[in-house]
């Protein structure tokens, strides 16, 4: 149970911070696609007989780079949809090869926070540190290129390379978070809290902090409720994400 709280909290912090940029850059689809595509990695890992996190660590950067490089030419939304589908198809193939029980597949898709081990917590902590360091390093160019790409380019920011780095960052977050909240709902945590935070605060740093706070509350609530009811944690995360968003829209509408 302690492990679950720790792992869940780490995921919430990273998702809140990285999610701030996901929403600012309008990268919702990529944030959904990278975790979903990484499912192939988890399924593949079970074919080879290695821990799922190894498969995630290999496949999520592949998905991120494929989306980034193929989408550079044109129509990045189409490319994202196709890369995600291709990876999921591969996942379906791997699944047909394994003798994995449906409940374990289900856990990968929808999360199983209560099964987190101590080693996984340490791994999560290391990845969290790396992700936060990356965000701190890229903060200013990422912020500028998100809101005014042309201006950033004129100042010498290599926006295309930055976009690719950001996708890889998403892959790191995916590897970290998928074992906890699952491939399908990982992105709810990356989009819901930051989208809601925007209604309450005006500056970038405050929005990031609020987003982390909301994500933490969401995860804690979801873990507690999942523990009480034995229902899947993904259910509570998904519903809470939407509830925060609705609350934020109401606040924003009342202010206007």
């Amino acid at each position: 149970m302690t492990n679950a709280w720790l792992a869940g909290s780490l995921v919430a912090v990273v998702a809140g911070v990285v999610g701030f940029f996901v929403v600012l850059r309008g990268a919702t689809f990529a944030a959904h696609g990278v975790p979903l595509a990484s499912f192939a990695g988890a399924a593949g890992a079970s074919v080879v007989g290695v821990p799922a996190v190894v498969g995630l660590a290999v496949f999520s950067p592949v998905a991120a780079v494929a989306i980034g490089l193929l989408g550079r030419r044109r129509r990045s939304d189409v490319v994202t949809a196709l890369v995600v589908a291709a990876m999921l198809g591969l996942g379906a193939l791997f699944l047909s090869w394994t003798v994995e029980y449906a409940s374990e597949i289900y856990a990968l898709l929808f999360g199983e926070v209560l099964g987190v081990t101590g080693t996984e917590v340490w791994l999560s902590a290391a990845l969290t540190g790396a992700a936060l360091l990356a965000v701190a390093t890229l903060y200013r160019p990422l912020l500028l290129s998100s809101v005014a790409g042309e201006v950033a380019e004129a100042r010498g920011v290599r926006t295309a390379r930055l976009e690719l780095l950001f996708l890889v960052l998403m892959a790191v977050v995916t590897t970290l978070a998928v074992p906890v909240v699952g491939t399908l709902l990982m992105f709810t945590l990356m989009v819901g809290p930051p989208a809601a935070a925007r209604a309450f605060v005006r500056s970038p740093l405050a929005a990031m902090a609020a987003s982390v706070g909301i994500a933490l509350v969401t995860v804690w609530l979801a873990i507690a409720l999942a523990y009480e009811t034995t229902w899947p944690i993904g259910f509570f995360v998904g519903i809470a994400g939407a509830a925060w968003y609705v609350l934020a829209r109401v606040v924003a509408a009342r202010r206007r």
């Binding site: 600012l24 701190a136 390093t137 890229l138 903060y139 200013r140 160019p141 912020l143 500028l144 809101v147 005014a148 042309e150 201006v151 950033a152 380019e153 004129a154 100042r155 010498g156 920011v157 935070a197 925007r198 209604a199 605060v201 005006r202 500056s203 970038p204 405050a206 929005a207 924003a252």
Partner: protein, 253 residues
Amino acid sequence: MPPVRVLTVEGATVTFGGRRVLDGVSFSVEAGEFVGLIGANGAGKTTLFRVVLGLLKPSAGTVRHLGRRVGYVPQKVAIEPDAPLRARDLVALGLDGERFGVRLPSRSRRERVDRMLEAVGAAAFADARVGTLSGGEQQRVLIAHALVGQPSLLVMDEPLANLDIKSGHEIVELVARLAVEQDLAVLLSAHEMNAILPHMDRVVYLAEGRAVSGTTGEVIRSDVLSELYRYPVKVLDVDGTVVVVGGHDVKVR
């Protein structure tokens, strides 16, 4: 003392898919000068700006910058109304937005940002979200963003394209005043020149990829402009203000 050239473009040529978008363009901008880049839509203004900003390497010719950095103001930015970015945040990114790593807030940075917001008349909405500001207000914030790093050249892409006449005139007057105060050269593109005529020291006229450069008096004449636009254009004096109008029906009093 000879004038300092902050920007020298010599023989810049850019070819896209066999078509010469820029064909041996040469002009220069001297310190403190207000230069208008005039040309019809599709004449190559945007391409020339990309060359000047170093975003596009010309296939032939050179671009030389002298002195401090270049500040750039895009035509407009698409920022959502609820994006958590205040006007002052955008201006602060003008100080060192391209640098990696974190920077702790300091009093001197805050004061520089405040002074800049004050100078462009944006102090009143310094803490408002950029996405909720009007076109003219956003333009002021973008100018502050470009100028807070104290560039020697300010490049503005069609600053008047999305503004009404009043806001347009106010922006031009603001830039002209800041140019004098901060010893700043300005290169500003427009396809409609009446608002910038009173402040313009020199004109770079772009047509079909070629450029003609001269003082305002040399270029803003009925015969020269009609030739450049290949369309009848009249330069009129209306109560002491020079205005440029186009069309076959224009009669000079």
